[in-house]
C-alpha cells in the first residue's frame, strides 16, 4: 500500500501559546493568573518524556508514523483513561486492574480466514517486529494525549491469516470476566466489548495492535496484553484486552454504537465538524495543557487516511 508522507504537524504550529509544558506548571500558572499575578517566566520546564520502567528507551525520531509533539507523561497516560471493564471513573482502570492476569492469554482468530485457530498470545505476536509509534490519542469526551505505543500493524497479522474474499470487516472482542473485571458486574454497556473496522481501515499502516507503551509492556489498565490503536478515530474504537479477532462479511454491531446509535457511529473518525449530539468536538484539552486546542480532521492524520473515505458523507457516516 502506498503511504503518502504527510508534513508532520509540529506542536509549535498547533499551539503557539503552549507555554504550559506540564501539569504542575500550568496549575500554578492558572492559579497565579487567577490571582492577577500572571507571569510566564517563573516556572522551569521539566522533562516528562522518560520511561520510568525502561530508562534506555528513547522516543523515535519524527516521521509520518511518529509525531514530534510533547509526550503525555507516563503517569498521566497510565492513571487517567477509560476502560469501563474496570469501572467508569478515569482512575478506576489504574486502581482495579493491577491484579488482572494477562498470562497465560489466548486469542481466537476466526471467521472468514483460511485456518481459524486459538493462539497463545506469545505465538500470535512472535512473527512481528515491534515498533514505537508516537500517536495522538483523542477521546470522544474531548481530551487528548500523545502516547508512544509499542506494537505492529494490524495489516501484518491480517495478511498472515489469509482472509477469504468474504472478509469485509474485522471484529475485536475484549475478555469477559466479571470476577477480574469488576466493571462488568454492572450492565453499563453490553458486555463483552466489541469493536470493529472495515477491512481497508484495518489494513491501513497506521492501525496497530499495541502490546506496550513507553518502550515497555502495556500496563493492565491500558488494555494489556493486546489492544488496537487507530489514531485517526476516537479512542473508544480501540479494543482492549483482546481475546477474539473475527473476520466477517457484514458490518458488526459495536458496543458504543449499540449503546447509543445516535451518538456513536460505526466509523467514529475524529472530526471537528461533526459534534457529538451533546457536546462540541471542535476543541480538545491536551492533557497537561491549560488552554484547549483545536481538534484536527482525522486527528491530524487526514493526509494519510482521508482517501479511505472518499465519496462518503462524513456527517451521515459519523
Amino acid at each position: 500500500m502506498l503511504l503518502k508522507r504527510s508534513d508532520d504537524i509540529k506542536s509549535s504550529e498547533i499551539a503557539p501559546e503552549s507555554l504550559y509544558k506540564n501539569r504542575r506548571q500550568f496549575l500554578k500558572t492558572a492559579a497565579v493568573a487567577a490571582a492577577g499575578l500572571a507571569s510566564t517566566s517563573v516556572f522551569g520546564v521539566l522533562s516528562a518524556e522518560s520511561s520510568p520502567q525502561n530508562p534506555q528507551w528513547k522516543r523515535p525520531p519524527a516521521s509520518s508514523f511518529n509525531t514530534d509533539e510533547d509526550l503525555t507523561p507516563f503517569k498521566d497516560a497510565t492513571t487517567y483513561n477509560n476502560f469501563y471493564e474496570f469501572g467508569t471513573d478515569k482512575d478506576d482502570p489504574y486502581r482495579n486492574a493491577q491484579s488482572f492476569r494477562v498470562r497465560p492469554w489466548k486469542v481466537a482468530v476466526e471467521g472468514e480466514i483460511r485456518k481459524p485457530a486459538v493462539y497463545n498470545l506469545e505465538d500470535l505476536v512472535k512473527p512481528y517486529k515491534l515498533e514505537d509509534r508516537v500517536y495522538r490519542h483523542r477521546c470522544v469526551e474531548g481530551w487528548s494525549m500523545v502516547i508512544p505505543w509499542l506494537g505492529f500493524p494490524i495489516a501484518d497479522l491480517i495478511r498472515k491469516m489469509q482472509p477469504t474474499s468474504k472478509a469485509k470487516f474485522v471484529e475485536f472482542t475484549t475478555l469477559y470476566d466479571p470476577i477480574q473485571m469488576p466493571g462488568q458486574k454492572r450492565p453499563v454497556l453490553n458486555w463483552p466489548y466489541v469493536e470493529a473496522l472495515r477491512m481497508d481501515e484495518a489494513m491501513h499502516p497506521l492501525a496497530i495492535f499495541a502490546t506496550g507503551l513507553y518502550g515497555n509492556e502495556l500496563p493492565n489498565q491500558n488494555g494489556a496484553p493486546l489492544r488496537t490503536v487507530i489514531p485517526w478515530k476516537y479512542g473508544f474504537k480501540g479494543c482492549k484486552s483482546i481475546v477474539k479477532i473475527r473476520f466477517v462479511e457484514k458490518e458488526p454491531g459495536t458496543t458504543w454504537n449499540i449503546s447509543a446509535p445516535q451518538e456513536y457511529g460505526f466509523y467514529s473518525n475524529v472530526n471537528p465538524d461533526v459534534d457529538h449530539p451533546r457536546w462540541s468536538q471542535k476543541f480538545e484539552r491536551r492533557i497537561g495543557e491549560f488552554r484547549k486546542r483545536r481538534t484536527l480532521m482525522f486527528n491530524g492524520y487526514a493526509d494519510q487516511v482521508a482517501s479511505l473515505y472518499t465519496g462518503m458523507d462524513l456527517k451521515q457516516n459519523f
Binding site: R23, L27, A30, R186, A260, S280, R285
Partner: protein, 211 residues
C-alpha cells in the same frame, strides 16, 4: 450559654467550617498535584457534585424537621443554601474560565445547542435570586410570603441540576439516578405532608356512608 447562643456561637461556625471542607480539600489537592491528569475536569465534577449535595441537604431540612420536631434545623438552612450557591458559582466560573477560557461564542453555542448545558445554565440563573434574597433585611422587606414564593424555585433548580447531571454522563447513570431518587423522596415527602391532613380531614368530614 442558652440554646440559641450555642447554635449561633458554636454549631453554626462548626457547620460553616464543615461545609467549607470539600473546597479546602479541593484547593489542597490542586496545589499538591493530587488531582487527576485532567484537574480542570476534577474541579468541574467536584463543584457540580457538591452543588447537588448542598441542594439535597437544604431540601431535607423541612421533612426532617416535620418528622423529628427539631425546629432548630431551620437555622442552618440558609447557610447550606448559600453553600450550594457558592459551589455552583465556582462550577460556573470553572466552565467559563478554565474550560472555555472566555470563548463567549462557544459558550453561547453550548447554552443554545447542548441541552445539558441549557438546563444547567438555567438552574444556575434561577439560583441567583435565591442567593440574593438570603438575607434578613431583604426577607423582612419582601415579606415572608413573597420570600417563600420565590424560594420555591429551589424545587425547579434541584430537578434541573439532576437532569443536567443525567444528560451529561455517557453510559453510567448510577450516580445521577441516585440523586434523582433522593430528590423524588424529598419532594415526595412534601406532597405527602401537604396531602396527609387534607385526606385525614376529608375522612373526618365524610363518615363512612358509602361502604
Amino acid at each position: 450559654m442558652t440554646r440559641p447562643q450555642w447554635i449561633r456561637r458554636v454549631w453554626k461556625p462548626a457547620a460553616f467550617l464543615l461545609a467549607l471542607l470539600p473546597f479546602l480539600l479541593l484547593a489542597y489537592q490542586w496545589y499538591s498535584d493530587q488531582l487527576s491528569a485532567n484537574p480542570i475536569d476534577d474541579v468541574t465534577d467536584t463543584t457540580g457534585t457538591w452543588t447537588l449535595r448542598f441542594l439535597m441537604v437544604t431540601l431535607a431540612i423541612t421533612p426532617l424537621r416535620k418528622v423529628t420536631g427539631w425546629n432548630w434545623l431551620l437555622q442552618f438552612r440558609r447557610m447550606i443554601g448559600l453553600f450550594a450557591f457558592f459551589s455552583v458559582a465556582l462550577h460556573f466560573l470553572t466552565y467559563i474560565y478554565l474550560d472555555q477560557f472566555f470563548l463567549w461564542e462557544e459558550i453561547a453555542a453550548d447554552v443554545q445547542k447542548r441541552p445539558f448545558i441549557t438546563v444547567g445554565f438555567a438552574s444556575f440563573i434561577l439560583m441567583i435570586p435565591l442567593a440574593m434574597t438570603s438575607n434578613d433585611r431583604i426577607t423582612k422587606w419582601m415579606g415572608g410570603k413573597r420570600w417563600q414564593q420565590i424560594h420555591r424555585l429551589v424545587y425547579i433548580v434541584a430537578i434541573g441540576g439532576v437532569i443536567h447531571y443525567l444528560w451529561l454522563v455517557k453510559a453510567d447513570t448510577q450516580r445521577p439516578l441516585t440523586y434523582g431518587g433522593i430528590l423524588i423522596l424529598l419532594l415526595g415527602s412534601r406532597v405527602w405532608f401537604f396531602l396527609k391532613p387534607r385526606i385525614a380531614g376529608r375522612r373526618r368530614a365524610a363518615p363512612a356512608q358509602d361502604s
